[in-house]
């Protein structure tokens, strides 16, 4: 009963929107799905946008998965941006001392697509 997270292609870029929660049981699959989508998209040079506006809780485990996934996508040559972090999630992570160092972030999907160089 593992829910899959849809990965959309928007004008050459990959867009992943994580909704509800990234359960401990689905994170590994999430990571694999994103990396294989990048692999299948070989030849394109679009970026990867991960929208987490639907995530109500990001603990250190999920934060690490997001950071690792972004780092792996980057290693595969994809400009990667995480966008849409909720204010209470940002506050919680900072209180815990987890700053998601090295992860490029954007306010929302629009802002994220700007970062990837998609004209409005």
């Amino acid at each position: 009963m593992t829910p899959t997270i849809p990965i959309l292609r928007v004008r050459g870029h990959l867009l992943v929107s994580v909704q509800g929660e990234l359960g401990d049981d689905v994170v590994e699959q999430f990571q694999n799905d994103v990396l294989s989508a990048i692999e299948r998209d070989r030849g394109r040079d679009g970026g990867l946008l991960v929208d987490i506006s639907g995530l109500e809780v990001v603990d250190t485990y999920v934060a690490r998965v997001l950071a690792d996934t972004a780092a792996m996508a980057r290693l595969m040559g994809r400009h990667t941006v995480v966008c849409g972090m909720r204010p209470e999630v940002a506050a919680t992570l900072v209180q815990m001392g987890y700053m998601l160092d090295g992860v490029e972030t954007a306010l929302d999907v629009d802002d994220g697509l700007d970062r990837l160089g998609l004209p409005r």
């Binding site: 401990d24 809780v57 603990d59 485990y61 909720r86």
Partner: protein, 138 residues
């Protein structure tokens, strides 16, 4: 302190961590936590139940909706019979992990709650109790 709701949840497999997290979130809503307080206690629930599972070899959580007459709050207790925390001072300072991790779960959880107590005994296990209160309304 009055206990309005009390539930004991087993922590034995990975899938149990999201269950504890979800229940904490539901009780936080019942206790009228705002979004920030709710994210804080839910995150602490996630960190501490994962610690009980990964480091403590599993155990259980008690999640409670409580009231002290003035305020409503959540009390969460995590119990395991694992190896205990080797160096509790270092673990509480943060940045210390016996895994491949950043070691921010325990120290971070402490900063997210109002009350935090750890009892740990080598070879016997660990018990972490946290309380967080809803902010006054009106």
């Amino acid at each position: 302190m009055t206990v309005l709701v009390s539930e004991r949840l087993t922590i034995a497999v990975e899938g149990d961590v999201p269950v504890v997290r979800r229940r904490a979130r539901e009780l936080a809503q019942a206790a009228h936590f705002d979004a920030f307080a709710s994210a804080a206690i839910t995150t602490a629930a996630s960190e501490l139940s994962r610690n009980a599972l990964v480091h403590g070899g599993g155990g259980y959580a008690v999640v409670e909706h409580v009231s002290d007459g003035l305020r409503e709050g959540l009390r969460l207790v995590f119990v395991d019979e694992g190896p205990g925390i080797l160096d509790i001072d270092r673990a509480l300072r943060g940045g210390y992990s016996t895994g491949r991790s950043l070691g921010l779960g325990l120290s971070g959880s402490r900063r997210l709650v109002d009350e935090f107590h750890v009892e740990t005994s080598l070879g016997k296990g660990t018990r972490v109790e946290v309380v967080k209160w809803a902010r006054f309304r009106r």
